[in-house]
């Protein structure tokens, strides 16, 4: 009864104002994109100043707290595995046959030379828990209508003082995100493209990360196959699975 009341109230609010609140939008995006678990294969192309290199991997994740990634190519990275459990991250290197925990300041290092840091991958707190969000307008991104959300940090320990997120109004997926320093300087931009309908939900399959202070084309992360709600064995999310 209570849920029905909230739903009716939200629908009425939506009709009255013409657009949902920022928190509601974020909630809808979460609902669209989150799944019990997912398995995907991806390529990460790191564009350097002189050359580019591509790393392929297969990842298994449950919610946003557990994930296991195995790197498939190139030969140098093949067999490297990464396990994330809550706020802990371990990396297994087959050439040394050792597992190390990435912690503290090591999290600030780049992942395999890309524009992404381990920390970027680790921050799994909900944006609504760490930022005050408000809708500041509507814009078109690549011909798609979007809501433009501005997020301002409400806690001290966040990496970026503010963010802007462009959310596709119909497909409920983010299409662009900009991360800002405290001074207001734009630091990073992610562009999400190739939005496809997979298992009844819209999902961006290519993400381009770009450090805006650095020259270059950034890092392109492309999901080549993705499956939702699969049977994933629990043992995969244990340290023992890293050495197998």
């Amino acid at each position: 009864m209570k849920t029905l009341f909230v739903a009716i109230f939200s629908a009425l609010a939506f009709l009255a104002i013409g657009q949902p609140s920022a928190d509601k939008i974020m909630e809808m995006v979460d609902e669209n994109m989150s799944s019990e678990n997912r398995i995907f294969e991806s390529t990460m192309t790191i564009h350097g100043k002189r050359s580019s290199r591509t790393i392929t991997s297969r990842s298994y994740s449950v919610g946003d707290k557990q994930s296991f990634t195995e790197y498939l190519s190139p030969a140098r990275e093949q067999g490297t595995k990464m396990l994330k459990l809550e706020d802990k991250l371990w990396i297994y290197n087959p050439s040394t046959d050792r597992t190390i925990q990435i912690s503290g300041h090591m999290l600030r290092q780049s992942v395999m030379g890309s524009d992404l840091s381990y920390e970027d991958m680790m921050d799994d707190r909900k944006l609504t828990d760490t930022y005050d969000a408000k809708v500041i307008g509507k814009e078109e991104v690549d011909g798609r209508p979007t809501w433009l959300l501005e997020l301002t940090a409400k806690v001290d320990d966040v990496a970026y003082a503010s963010r802007k997120v462009w959310i596709d109004t119909e497909r409920l997926v983010p299409l662009k995100e900009e991360l800002f320093a405290k001074s207001g300087q734009l630091l990073k931009r992610s562009t999400l493209t190739d939005v496809q309908k997979i298992d009844g939900r819209w999902f961006p399959t290519t993400i381009t990360y770009k450090n805006m202070l650095k020259k270059g084309d950034g890092t392109v992360f492309k999901m080549t196959s993705i499956k939702f709600n699969q049977d994933i064995a629990d043992y995969l999310f244990t340290k023992a699975a890293l050495k197998q």
């Binding site: 100043k49 503290g104 300041h105 090591m106 940090a153 001290d156 320990d157 966040v158 990496a159 970026y160 003082a161 991360l179 320093a181 405290k182 001074s183 300087q185 630091l187 450090n211 202070l213 650095k214 020259k215 270059g216």
Partner: protein, 391 residues
């Protein structure tokens, strides 16, 4: 004794070209060893003086977590300036320095740097920090010439730096290159940017905090302060001593080869003398010299090579060494990437100990080498020797 010296001198000069060849080779060893050791002493002196002038002054207190070789310790290496140092800081005899990690983006390239905060009014170090006392939209900064060269920066340039405050939140701003200094101390130059201490404290959200305290007076007796570790001048320059020691050991191989060549020549000369002058030896013994005296005569003769060599070395060596001390020796390779305080031009420094030490080493070695073949004389039969029979 005097007779032995006189005889030795006469025989030596009488040997003509053979003596002079030996003397020249030996004198060359003298000059080269003194020069090379002089360069090492000069480097040691220069490196320590420059390090004091540019980096450590009279010594430092480091925050207990600070490890200069581990930039990851930097986020935990800051604390309020200890009260016991405040008076010295107010007097201008000590200063606080705050260090944090950052990134600089010259022309869109990315480079990790250390951002160091220092008082613009400081007079402890030669850093041109007074240039930081400028009001601008960008943050005034001074950098070293090596940093400027690597990042293609010039005075008046604006460049973006990025850092994280104490909570880990990113921030970025432009800095203005107010001055570029030239120093031989890479630890204040490479991959670092100096800005005002107060500005860095506010950027990091840690007003009044520092990573290290540098003080002027090295003679004052000091002890550790809570959370701060005392680093004396000697401790901070210990790495220079170690590098010089390693280099000196490496150089010793060169001295050894030089001396070996000279000693081989002297040894040969001695063996030849004893072989060719058997009759003379027999005659001298017949005249009443003991065998020991004859051994002494030949040893003195050999050892006198080194005395003559010292004289010859002084004739051409003193002007050469003096000229080198004045103009210095410019290293044929770029030294700024060495990672330690080393000037492009090194000025040798000759101490009395160095000269006496080198002379003693050469004289003693020559004496031993001269004595070695002379021992054979003691076994000679004088009658056979007079007859000139080979023994």
């Amino acid at each position: 004794m005097l007779l032995a010296l006189k005889l030795a001198y006469r025989n030596l000069v009488g040997a003509g070209l053979r003596t002079w060849l030996n003397v020249i080779v030996l004198s060359f060893s003298f000059v080269v060893i003194i020069w090379m050791k002089g360069i090492m002493v000069g480097w040691d002196h220069q490196a320590k003086t420059d390090t004091q002038n540019w980096e450590i002054a009279g010594g430092q207190y480091w925050h207990e977590n600070y490890d200069q070789f581990d930039p990851f310790t930097l986020t935990e290496s800051h604390a309020p300036v200890p009260e016991s140092m405040q008076e010295e800081i107010d007097r201008g005899d000590a200063m606080a320095i705050l260090v944090t990690q950052g990134t600089i983006y010259p022309e869109g390239r990315m480079q990790s740097i250390l951002i160091k905060g220092i008082s613009p009014q400081q007079t402890l170090l030669h850093l041109p920090t007074q240039k930081l006392d400028t009001t601008l939209n960008a943050i005034p900064a001074v950098i070293g010439s090596h940093m400027a060269k690597v990042n293609n920066l010039e005075i008046g340039d604006f460049v973006t730096i990025q850092w994280r405050d104490v909570n880990g939140t990113f921030d970025a701003s432009e800095i203005f290159i107010a001055d570029i200094f030239s120093t031989n101390v890479p630890t204040v130059d490479g991959a670092q940017v100096w800005i005002s201490l107060e500005k860095l404290q506010s950027m990091m959200l840690i007003p009044g905090e520092a990573t290290m305290i540098t003080f002027r007076d090295s003679d004052v007796e000091r002890a550790d302060i809570d959370n701060w570790t005392l680093k004396t001048q000697a401790a901070l320059t210990a790495n220079i001593d170690e590098i010089i020691k390693t280099k000196t050991v490496g150089q010793s191989v060169f001295y050894f080869i030089l001396l070996l060549l000279a000693m081989l020549a002297i040894f040969d000369t001695q063996v030849l003398s004893i072989f060719r002058r058997q009759r003379e030896i027999g005659t001298i013994v017949a005249l009443g010299f003991t065998k020991r005296q004859v051994v002494w005569l030949f040893t003195t003769e050999g050892a006198m090579h080194s005395i003559l060599a010292a004289v010859v070395a002084a004739i051409y060596g003193i002007p050469f060494l003096w000229w080198q001390a004045k103009t210095g020796w410019t290293m044929p390779v770029e030294t700024s990437d060495y990672g330690m305080a080393i000037a492009q031009t090194l000025y040798p420094k000759y101490t009395l100990g160095l000269i006496i030490g080198t002379t003693l080493i050469v004289v003693i070695t020559t004496t031993i080498v001269s004595y070695w073949p002379s021992r054979k004389i003691a076994k000679m039969n004088p009658t056979q020797a007079i007859k000139g029979k080979i023994q």
